[in-house]
Symmetry: D2
Subunit: 146 residues, 4 copies
DNA sequence: TTTT
DNA sequence: TTTT
């Protein structure tokens, strides 16, 4: 039976999206997203920031690379995926990413003046499971995509 | 400004919850949760399973250890948290976990015969950010909690 | 700027889906869904059930009518939509519905023996806003679809 | 068995929160929230706005009345509840509301300068089901709270 | 009108 | 390591 694997984030991009074109012409974009939480500790206001690795595929990657930039506030919906790779020293490592399924730009209108205002969805024909595509450090130079 | 960091999962426990009592009497429970996705690839039905590291604190940990077992179907709501630790060889590693905020047991009644049927929430006074508590491999014996 | 309008439900169908074919060949299905919450009141276990009006369009309606029946446990994701209509006495009324965007069958396998096990999504080309289609009492016979 | 009844909204307040104090000193706040969706229809950009009736109880109502105003952008999490009431003519009517469980203010920092930046949760002891409290038109003057 |  |  099927399960549910859903992530909902609202946060700011830590960097501009990094776009890559895989063999076969598939586009992948990725960027770090920060979600901050503020709480009181001994009467003081403390902020804790969590960083998330966001990955977008194909059309969604192209829209993201066009409209999202470092610092923008964005709503992202996607699913968790943990994948393994070998680093430069051939050590097996794991990274957990959020594979985006759709996103919506939030924040001041001026931030997105030439941009679409709708929620951007993963295009339909593109909704396959992406695991055949091995992106990441092991393919290229051992650096994390984030 | 605050962000949103929310995870929603429906899946089966891969193992019984593992319960630990930290110094100071704080209870932590953890277990792996599988969410399966089925899709068609070249006309064949393929199943892909994603494994998630679930962590529960205090009262929620105690309820989980009492009512959840390997194989059970459960709805879990929580937030993502990536933490670092050093493995036995002093190599810095990262693990992404879902810190549960509430859960609901799903599935056949017989699966939960002596159990409560309500959604179990993290008790209020317990809703602090848990980062002061360094659980995990480096503290104790080098094993991942998962 | 765009907003977010998302509903996540896990519950049981109160009736079999009711299927209608609109002019133009568009299929619409609808059914009531019950979500139950259990809580303690003065030491007694009390159950409170909320009923939701679920609406599905086109391909999603067809899949639902094929695989969902009264009593089944289902995960539904969709959006809220409130629409007005006139009842038999020409009184303007409002009804709030959940327009489903995808669903996943949960529960025992035997419940879904000949059914697909994947999450069912609204097909892509079908992802338009449905407000041109005025279904409901005023069109036909004054009965609520629920 | 318990179900799930969850709503996630990001939108703008249509009015300032309206605060009421029930007998017994319980505070209730309510306001309309707009979520907009933009889509293409025959090559033209069309915006469709959905209005939601938000209700907040006790401490959450008090925080909302203090920090939220007409026009602000807010993330709201809650559950659906449909209740009936009699209007001035003693006609039974239904209204579906979102009972907020927590909210987070989004948007420009200047919008919330003297405000907390954390997600505001329904305080724990307050997490009861609210159906003993009959708020709404029938109690007072026949007007919808929205 | 569901389910436990 | 789950489940169907």
């Amino acid at each position: 039976m099927s399960g549910i694997n859903k992530v909902i984030l609202v946060g700011h991009l830590g960097k501009d999206p990094e776009v890559r074109h895989l063999d076969g012409g598939v586009t992948v974009a990725s960027f770090p997203l920060a979600t901050s939480e503020t709480y009181n500790k001994d009467g003081k206001r403390v902020e804790q920031t969590e960083w998330h690795n966001i990955v977008l595929w194909r059309g969604l990657a192209e829209v993201a690379s066009k409209y999202l930039q470092k610092g923008k506030l964005v709503y992202i919906e996607g699913k968790l995926r943990t994948r393994s790779f070998e680093d430069k020293e051939k050590v097996k490592k794991y990274v957990t990413e959020i594979v985006a399924e759709n996103f919506t730009m939030l924040g001041r209108k001026s931030d997105f003046e030439q941009s679409p205002t709708a929620t951007i969805h993963q295009a339909p024909a593109e909704r396959k499971i992406e695991d055949e595509f091995t992106i990441g450090p092991s393919d290229e130079n051992g650096d994390l995509p984030f």
